[in-house]
């Protein structure tokens, strides 16, 4: 008991200092709200009286599920969290779930048929309303929620007005509120990054690599002394997710931001330098020949667990479980910071998270009781509702630690029915999605040391400032953009690999850049820039 509290305190400190170091801009939550006029709030901030409705109310919610739900239930309404929520609020929810893998098609069919449920969950780049929130509002499918939020969602209202970042992230370019977002008060640090076999480093007397030269030496030794056939298991695009490997050259594989300007990696000089280096690594056998098959974000387990690879990219929560699948008892993988050209360089590319995640719960125009729907959603943002959503029911899924902070119980992370933490979370508390004041730190419970330290290592010296914010393109911009980028993306990915493999000599690099320019990249950059500026101008 004592040990876990100490551990929690330690990790919280680590995380908080990491956030500080990574330049998190979150100010204190209760700073003066910016633009909203508080006079019209007819409900008060804080815990509402329960139940929140006067008669039995039912709402229909359309929401994608995933495998971790279906493990224990057929319908999210069966989860302990929603049952408890119904008990408290008096609102019954009928969930409608699309089949896994067909979410986007199902949403389009739903809208085409004109038969909308009361609440729909959408997430950009996964399942979204074609054209975005503003279009959904102007098409008359989503309700414009600005007034509803002011009057009936005081907790959400306060939260979204707490910082400028949060406010900008929760409204559309036109200033509309189209749905309720998931918000983190503290920005979560990187959960993905470069990883290396620490036990090999120890064995070979190497220090954690810092510069690209260090990496080259290390990979060489991995190959020669440890028999690694693919010392660095590169991702099949030639770039790591969130550009951790190319960060040292100041470029990303696609669009990124530099001092407010949108840039496209392949036409910048750093890109050529990066490819040159990777090509050298490839010819020296430091990157295996099989990297072209490494397609997913999950670590290439059959290379990692069998000692064929000594360095790769991974999720922080998997560092320890990868070990379980290895036959090497000394196996130890740790996070390492992205390499730099020379010591002291600052980096701007890594996996970044924001206060506001883009997924939303929107209320449709077919909802007969929008006021109660809004009040129901707002409950999750009240202190009581938020505690329930993040931690569940006291003494079942959480207990209060000696630091008066809630902490998940063993039922959650040492589950006896063979469920993983993610699956038990789905059963007892609210899963990450939308409409949620999310405390990501709940997942830190019982994370082994190497896992817990990983995010701060990845954030060391790397502020992730190059990541562009979430933008929305209008329908015309969208179709122009995809017409241009459809071709350019194919060209860039194909040629980049050819350069790396040496099938195309780097002397022809200028031709490559000119070709991209002739494919109208400047227009695409302009479209992105306009969208970014529009987003930053949100009031």
């Amino acid at each position: 008991m004592n040990k876990s509290i100490k551990f929690l305190a330690l990790s919280l400190t680590v995380i908080i200092s990491a956030s500080f170091l990574s330049g998190c801009k979150s100010k204190a939550v209760n700073s003066t709200s910016t633009k909203t006029d508080n006079k019209e709030i007819s409900a008060k901030v804080g815990n509402p009286t329960l139940p929140i409705v006067s008669k039995q109310t039912t709402l229909k919610v359309w929401m994608p599920m995933d495998q971790d739900y279906t493990k224990t239930m057929k319908n999210i309404g069966e989860s302990e969290y929603y049952k408890e929520l119904e008990k408290r609020t008096g609102v019954h929810i009928d969930f409608i779930h699309p089949a896994i893998g067909q979410e986007s098609a199902s949403l389009n069919l739903l809208i085409s048929s004109g038969d909308y449920p009361d609440i729909i969950q959408t997430t950009p780049n996964f399942v979204e309303y074609p054209g975005g929130e503003d279009k959904a509002i102007s098409d008359g499918v989503f309700l414009k929620l600005n007034d509803f939020v002011k009057k009936y969602a005081p907790n959400y209202n306060e939260l979204i007005n707490s910082t400028e970042e949060i406010r900008k992230g929760t409204i559309t370019d036109s200033g509309n509120i189209g749905g309720f977002h998931q918000i983190c008060r503290n920005v979560q640090p990187a959960w993905y990054g470069l990883v290396v076999r620490q036990d090999w480093l120890d064995d070979l007397g190497l220090k954690t690599p810092v510069t690209y030269d260090d990496w080259r030496t290390m990979l060489k030794v991995f190959k020669e002394k440890k028999g690694a056939t693919n010392p660095f298991m590169l991702h099949n695009t030639g770039f790591e997710y969130a550009n951790a490997l190319s960060a040292g050259y100041g470029v990303g594989s696609s669009f990124y931001g530099e001092n407010g300007k949108v840039k496209f990696g392949p036409i910048e000089s750093g890109y050529k330098e990066y490819l040159t280096m990777i090509n050298e690594w490839y010819t020296e056998g430091l990157i295996g020949k099989d990297f072209t098959t490494n397609k997913s974000l999950n670590p290439p387990i059959n290379y990692v667990a069998t000692g064929k690879a000594g360095a790769w990219s991974d999720l922080y929560v998997l560092l320890s479980s990868d070990k379980q699948q290895s036959n090497d008892s000394n196996y130890r993988a740790v996070a390492v910071p992205a390499p730099v050209k020379k010591v002291g360089d600052k980096l701007h590319f890594r996996q970044t998270n924001t206060n506001v995640t883009a997924g939303i719960w929107s209320i449709t125009t077919e909802c007969k009781d929008p006021i109660n729907a809004v009040k129901w959603i707002d409950y999750t943002f009240s202190p009581e509702g938020s505690l329930l959503a993040n931690y569940g029911v006291k003494d079942i899924s959480y207990k209060v630690g000696s630091d008066s902070k809630p902490q998940l119980t063993e039922l959650m992370y040492k589950n006896t029915e063979g469920l993983t933490l993610k699956q038990t979370l789905r059963k007892y508390v609210k899963a990450t999605s939308a409409a949620f004041d999310y405390d990501w730190e709940r997942e830190l419970v019982e994370q082994p040391k190497d896992n817990a330290e990983a995010p701060s290592i990845w954030g060391e010296n790397n502020d992730g400032a190059a990541t562009l914010p979430q933008i929305t393109l209008t329908a015309e911009e969208g179709s122009e953009y995809s017409a241009i980028m459809g071709d350019i993306n194919t060209y860039v990915s194909e040629m980049s690999i050819k350069f790396i493999l040496g099938q195309q000599p780097l002397t022809k690099y200028d031709e490559f850049v000119n070709q991209i320019k002739s494919m109208n990249i400047d227009r695409a950059i302009k479209i992105e820039q306009t969208a970014v500026d529009r987003r930053n101008a949100r009031k």
Partner: protein, 302 residues
Amino acid sequence: MNWINIKKDFKANKVLYFMVLPVVLYFIVFSYVPMSGIIMAFEQYSPQKGIFGSTWIGVKNFVDFFNSYYCLRLIKNTFLLSFYDLIFGFPAPIIFALLMNEIRRKKVKKIVQTISYMPYFISITVIAGIIIDFCSSTGAITSIVAKFGGPSSNLLGIPELFRGIFIGTNIWQGVGFNSVIYMAALAGVDQELYEAAAQDGAGRWKQALHVTIPGISNTIIIMLILRLGHLMSVNFEKVILLYSPVTYSTADVISSFVYRKGLLEFNYGYSTAVGLFNSAMNFAILLLANRISKKISETSLF
């Protein structure tokens, strides 16, 4: 066709038309009524506005496709992949069926049939996993190929080999199942004809040539016409599982490119337009094949 003939035909064949009515109705309801959706190819489709309410943009989607830098390559890859599959993959089940027909012991024949038909049912993701594994730089097939003087690196990273791997594995997975229809046709060949041929002194080979093959010829022809009708379609699921940017030059086909582009933007109009273009080409080829077949043989679809 004049009015008198039509009346006569209807009188004589009333019952037949009545019998085929449910079939025709089925196609009207489930195929022709939804065909109105083809309009989406000409629209900036918005699900809320529906098929008849979305903005008309004419041939813009088609123009976008034809203007693409890769348009020609995609058409070429789609055609070649499908064409090679036709040349090698079409005869394979026929030859296999003929060979199986020569097995004398019935029991052995049945066992071979059952085993050969199994790989068809293994999910494509598992098959792709096996192929990737076997073709990796340390894979089984790669080592065999290397022994014969071939390249010793990841075979799926070599564009020139993609078609061979794709089609070879198609045959491996499908030859058994696809031979079923020919086995059924072979069962329909009149035994008397064999007896007559044997009496005339024909050996095994001559019997095959003069009795067996003509006996299943109309099945083969119809299957060929249908197959030609799919010339411009490629099983895109398998392509996506096996390709990567290294092999785009031979592996990227129309459907895989449209899929990637579709991930950039949820635009039904574009994919419908390209699909329509594909279908139109396929159908034109089918009509041509049908006409040629009518002239050369007695068999045709219509």
